[in-house]
């Protein structure tokens, strides 16, 4: 938490200094009011000086106005500072994550990164709002109150030495009890929500197996657990507040009693007693506030640590200092991808995911990659756009090591269709133009034509301007996939990579799409990962992966003769005559 705060709060040191001053003024004003009240009693009431009472009342009014003005100003600056802090941290975090490669994203996981960027920042920001007001103010008041109390009457101040420890001890005990209770309660809330979620998503299965009673029991159990712990939490508070107020009230009564002796022995003026009681109340309330608030600090600190973890990452993949020059090639020749003895392992992993991978994918040809789940197909193609970097060997595009290219340039060469088609919120057109902002409508329709998407886009009420919800949930899976393919095609890239993108399509669309690709995308290199044998059996070359190594490379006919793994895959999907 310290590093995060010191770095991102430093620019605001002036504001913070002003806040501290304003809070100090407030504290002094707050503490001055009882003194003025005491003066009214001592110098006004007792001697019967009504004029004095009036003027002092005027002062009190001024002090109250000053205090409120300071409070509003400090609230303003504190809100501004805390929110600016939040904004800046969020900004840095977002930029940082944007610079991450897949390896770094995986290290945290996308959901966790999202939480860190949103919730955690809010947590820290919220703590800061508290910090810049009450957490500074409360100790000032407590210390100031003690000083003032001492000034009013020293011997009576000894009472504080008794009351304060009792109250703090009580608070600490309550908080110690409350924190595990709250944690436990959160668990129970999560549990009951989980059961609910499962009941809803599994409603068909539950009814099919006629297990309503069982589910009811499960829910009942969770519900009772939650009720029980909720009861404990509330009861803790039911004890806490009356006890606290009891302590405060008895403190007042006690002080009154002992104060009476001080007054009787004429060591203390009568007005000072009421002032003293006011101070004690202020002190106790400040301590109460500070203790309660500090219970929030650990949570904010945990959030800060989680943010810092992200900010501390040094991205492993960066642009080269001196990029290799762009080779001068005609369009038809661009897009040669070559893997040279590539090995890849995840950081810290014992075994390599891929090893000894060497092949060439030529422009104008289709290279297919097949293999069972976990054989490393997706990892292999994610190396090409440098989502990961190879751990040994190299990958070259048009003879240049991809690590010697600026990534922006590298990505320009690549049209990528991910396994899970992900569309952005916007319109069909804005999604298609994602890789080429100035693409004309004609270009979009052309891409849609190849991707077999013309028909359904035309059928949409708004055509190209049809709105798309985040993630593309407003269109069907097959349509989403075709839009993702069209989006890549609009880019007019040299290398197209399809990561198992065709499996969401039915056989007919799949084959039409492949035919169109062959017809329209003549000069580019196409690399396809697929599950379905029928979609890749006509590829120019097929690479068979098994446990991270190439176990077969050739055409469908070659592999059918020579590669056992390939045969196994083929025969699980096609009958013998279909395969031939």
């Amino acid at each position: 938490m310290k590093t995060l705060l010191s770095k991102y709060l430093l620019p605001f040191w002036r504001s913070i200094a002003v806040i501290v001053v304003l809070l100090l003024v407030q504290a002094v004003a707050n503490l001055y009011l009882p003194t003025l009240n005491a003066k009214i009693i001592n110098n006004g009431i007792i001697p019967g000086d009504t004029g004095y009472i009036g003027t002092t009342g005027g002062y009190m009014l001024l002090v109250a106005v000053l205090q409120t003005a300071c409070a509003i100003m400090s609230t303003y600056i504190a809100a501004r500072t805390a929110m600016s802090f939040g904004r800046n941290v969020r900004g840095s975090l977002f930029r940082k994550v944007e610079s991450f490669s897949q390896a770094e994203v995986n290290k945290f996981g996308t959901p966790s990164l999202i939480t860190r960027g949103t919730n955690d920042v809010q947590q820290v920001q919220m703590m800061l709002v508290l910090g810049l007001s009450l957490l500074i103010f409360a100790p000032m008041m407590a210390i100031g109150g003690i000083i003032m109390a001492l000034r009013q009457d020293r011997p009576l101040s000894i009472s504080l030495a008794v009351i304060l420890p009792i109250m703090v001890a009580f608070l600490v005990v309550v908080i110690r009890m409350a924190i595990p209770l709250f944690k436990n309660m959160q668990k129970k809330v999560d549990r009951i929500n989980q059961v609910m979620r499962e009941t809803l998503t599994g409603v068909r299965v539950i009814r099919a197996f006629a297990r309503d009673k069982y589910e009811e029991r499960r829910f009942e159990e969770a519900n009772q657990d939650l009720t029980k712990i909720g009861l404990n939490v509330m009861r803790l508070f039911a004890v806490m507040f009356p006890t606290l107020f009891g302590i405060l009230n008895l403190a007042v009564v006690g002080i009154m009693f002992f104060g009476a002796y001080r007054i009787d022995s004429e060591n203390m003026e009568f007005g000072s007693l009421t002032a003293f009681i006011s101070y004690v109340m202020q002190i106790l309330f400040s301590v109460l506030m500070a203790t309660m608030l500090s219970a929030f600090i650990p949570r904010a600190a945990a959030s800060a640590t989680r943010i810092q973890e992200v900010l501390d990452v040094v991205p492993g993949i960066a642009d080269p200092d001196e990029p290799a020059p762009t080779p001068d090639l005609t369009d038809a020749l661009r897009g040669l991808v070559e893997f040279k003895d590539v090995e890849f392992r995840y950081p810290g992993a014992e075994d390599a995911v891929l090893s000894r991978i060497s092949f060439k994918a030529l422009p104008g040809q289709t290279t297919a990659i097949v293999g069972s789940t976990g054989s490393g197909k997706s990892t292999l193609i994610s190396l090409i756009p440098r989502l990961y970097d190879v751990t040994s060997g190299s990958i070259e595009i048009d003879g240049r090591d991809i690590r010697m290219m600026n990534r922006a340039e590298l990505w320009q060469h690549i049209g990528f269709v991910p396994q899970k088609a992900f569309l952005f919120s916007g319109t069909v057109a804005s999604n298609l133009r994602y890789g080429k902002e100035d693409a004309t409508e004609e270009e979009l329709w052309h891409a849609l034509d190849i991707a077999q998407g013309i028909e359904f886009v035309q059928a949409m009420p708004d055509g190209l301007d049809e709105p798309i919800a985040q993630g593309g949930t407003s269109v069907s899976g097959g349509q989403r996939q075709r839009l993702a393919i069209a989006r890549a095609l609009v880019k007019n890239a040299d290398v197209y990579i399809f990561d198992d993108s065709l499996s969401a399509l039915d056989f007919k669309t799949d084959s039409l799409l492949r035919a169109a690709l062959k017809r329209e995308v003549r000069d580019s290199t196409i690399i396809v990962v697929a599950q379905r044998v029928s979609s890749i059996m006509h590829a120019d070359q097929i690479i068979v992966l098994d446990e991270g190594t190439i176990v077969g490379l050739g055409t469908h006919q070659d592999l059918l003769q020579t590669c056992e793994t390939y045969q196994e895959i083929v025969y699980s999907q096609l009958s013998a005559e279909e395969a031939a």
Partner: protein, 669 residues
């Protein structure tokens, strides 16, 4: 102090309802707790509010006790300063007596002192002294002060005790009420027809069941525990104020509406800002989520700079809104404090003047000051209740809406029970429609003999699950009859009927629990041997054994510890264990690796053997070998027959078959 963990914004955009609900709870935002609602309004506030109150009806006896306890606690709390004022007066009197001793020696009586003061022209002072309980020659009457102190201590202890009892009982009321609400809602879920779930976004239902109830609970906790004491405190304090000094009380009464009005005004304004802040937080989180989820696409398509630019814009807007919200809600406290301080000053000055003139005792003034200070908080609380309630009532309304949904028709009183099931299924003149005006299935006749396989085929979205829905009575048919071994399915209790079926769905639903629990779901009270036999038949045994904890491996909700194919196998094992005479099978199309695929096929083939089955078919082998194929398109059954017959018809099936299985089309006619 709601300890909400890490589980927030992931689904924010996808499920707007849950996002709104998250916002409702003010999660992660900081405003003065309870002062600011979200400005969300119920459609029928009065009705829903009444109904929400009605939820407390079973607790009304306890509530009466709580109110009584609170009344005692508050009376003690409020009354104590007034009693303590006597001690203050006695001390003051003692102090003045001491002063007078210096001034006049200890021989004078009170009357002499007053006369002397009058003679000196100190009229006011004389008046004050006259009103005091002077003890010339002595000081403070410690015996008296001591008695008062003991009484006040007792009163305070009593107050704390009763407040504690009240809180204790109230906790029970709130928790039991919410418990009942949760239980009712859960029971309701079990009685709702499937149409309810199919017609609504899961996120929305879930949000009603979880977030809305949470919101109700939190509001009840907050409002119920505070409102009674706050209300009583206001009344008690006002009463005592008037008793002590009507004039000062009137002044405070003027302040009361001013401060309540100010609090509500500011709360209202900040409410708007908070709503804006939530909206913008939603926008920003949505963008963050979108960009992080599509991280690779953003990069490969070279859109990082745009992503950052959009983020910066939204971030700036969020800053604007949240800064305003924070500021406006932040000034509630200082403003309230200022009003309270005004009151304080007024009481000090006027009270001081009256003490000086002997028309009011000093103890009463200090007591009054205490009352003024006690006054602010309950007023703020009562003023804020309106805001908080609004959001809770809106939540309650959503929950009530669900409780009011039409339920499934009740099961027949005397349910027909099938002992030995052969598995013959007859559809006679069955008609059905989801939407009243669009008939889907009209006059369907079908006779499935025991052991036969019915394949259901059709393009995606053709409504292939409709038939399953009718068979299992997830939906009720509109006409005709469906009979099993000649018994009308409607004459059986739903659970009896469903016991006859086994079901393997594509969406392999597992619940959080162990692998063993998930298999055992197929049959209540299954033995270990039976579970293992089912697991072996479904090829689960092998992979379960390879997991670190075997059958006791915990399945997570979105289990990543086993593959999609393995999930499928688990649900097959479940069906094996249930050992039903009739099967409903949904063949998977999702990408499963080849080896698991082979296992699934084998397990399914074994499961089908000797059972009447309905298969939503995607595989050639299943379709070709089916006894009857039902071809569906756009929700309706368009063709019916064997593979051979349908191909020869050259109708919809012929086209479908050729498009889906282009490579495999072999002319059979």
């Amino acid at each position: 102090m709601s300890a909400k963990g890490e589980r927030t914004s992931r689904q924010s955009k996808r499920a707007p309802a849950s996002q709104a609900a998250a916002a409702r709870r003010g999660q992660g935002h900081f405003g003065p707790p309870g002062l600011v609602g979200t400005g969300e309004k119920a459609k029928n506030f009065k009705g829903s509010f009444r109904r929400l109150l009605g939820q407390l009806r079973p607790e009304r006896k306890v509530l009466v006790v709580v109110v009584l306890l609170a009344a005692v606690a508050v009376s003690c709390q409020v009354g104590a300063p007034k009693v303590l004022a006597k001690a203050t007066d006695a001390i003051f009197g003692g102090a003045i007596s001491r002063q007078i001793n210096h001034y006049a020696g200890d021989v004078w009586t009170k009357d002499q002192v007053v006369q002397q003061l009058e003679a000196d022209g100190q009229h006011d002072r004389a008046q004050m002294v006259a009103s005091l309980d002077l003890r010339p020659g002595k000081g403070v009457d410690f015996g008296y002060v001591g008695r008062i102190v003991i009484i006040v201590t007792a009163i305070y202890l009593l107050s704390s005790l009763f407040a504690w009892l009240q809180g204790f009982l109230m906790a029970g009321i709130v928790q039991r009420t919410v418990y009942r609400l949760r239980r009712d809602v859960d029971a309701k879920v079990a009685r709702l027809p499937l149409a309810f779930f199919d017609g609504r976004a899961r996120g929305d239902i879930l949000s009603r069941l979880t977030n809305d109830i949470d919101n109700i609970q939190q509001t009840m906790q907050q409002v119920l525990t505070q409102i009674i004491s706050s209300f009583l405190t206001i009344i008690g304090v006002l009463g005592l104020m008037f008793w002590i000094s009507p004039l000062l009380a009137v002044i405070s009464l003027v302040v009361l509406p001013v401060s309540a009005g100010l609090a509500m005004l500011i709360a209202k304004r900040s409410q708007k800002q908070f709503a804006l802040q939530w909206e913008r937080t939603g926008d920003l989180n949505g963008h963050v989520e979108e960009m992080f989820t599509g991280h690779n696409i953003v990069k490969i398509f070279g859109r990082q700079n745009e992503a950052i630019a959009v983020f910066d814009d939204q971030n700036a807007e969020l800053f604007d809104a949240s800064f305003r919200a924070q500021f406006i809600s932040g000034i509630i406290m200082p403003v309230m404090m200022f009003v309270s301080n005004l009151n304080y000053v007024a009481v000090c000055v006027l009270g001081g003047l009256r003490v000086a003139s002997g028309t009011m005792s000093i103890g009463d003034v200090t007591a009054f000051i205490q009352y003024v200070q006690q006054f602010g908080q309950p007023i703020t609380q009562v003023a804020s209740v309106a805001n908080v309630l609004q959001s809770a009532v809106a939540s309650a309304e959503r929950v009530f809406e669900m409780l009011d949904e039409a339920e499934e028709s009740p099961d027949p009183v005397k349910s027909a029970v099938l002992r030995e099931v052969a598995g013959r299924i007859t559809f006679e003149n069955v008609s059905f429609r989801y939407v009243p005006d669009t008939p889907l299935i009209d006059n369907l006749n079908l006779d499935v003999l025991p052991g036969q396989t019915v394949a259901i085929v059709g393009p995606t979205g053709a409504g292939k699950t409709t038939l399953v829905n009718l068979l299992m009575r997830f939906y009720e048919i509109d006409g005709g009859t469906i009979a099993i071994d000649g018994v009308d399915t409607r004459s059986m209790a739903r659970s009896e009927l469903r016991h006859l079926f086994g079901m393997v769905l594509q969406d392999a639903w597992l619940f959080s629990g162990t692998i063993r629990d998930n298999i055992a779901y197929g049959r209540e009270g299954a033995t270990q041997e039976q579970i293992q036999a089912a697991a072996e038949a479904a090829h689960v045994h092998h992979f379960a054994r390879t997991l670190p904890e075997g059958y006791d491996t915990k399945m997570e909700e979105d289990s990543t510890n086993i593959s999609q194919g393995e999930r499928q196998l688990l649900t097959i094992a479940r069906a094996f264990l249930a050992d039903p005479q009739i099967l409903i099978l949904d063949e998977a199309t999702s990408s499963v690796d080849t080896r698991t695929e082979v296992l699934i096929q084998r397990a399914m083939a074994r499961l089908l053997k000797g059972r009447t089955s309905f298969v939503i078919a995607h595989r050639l082998s299943t379709i070709r070998d089916a006894d009857v194929i039902l071809v569906m398109n756009q929700g309706a059954i368009v063709e019916q027959g064997t593979h051979q017959e349908l191909l020869c018809n050259r109708g919809f099936y012929y086209d479908l078959y050729n498009s889906q299985f282009a490579e495999a089309a072999i002319d059979v006619c």
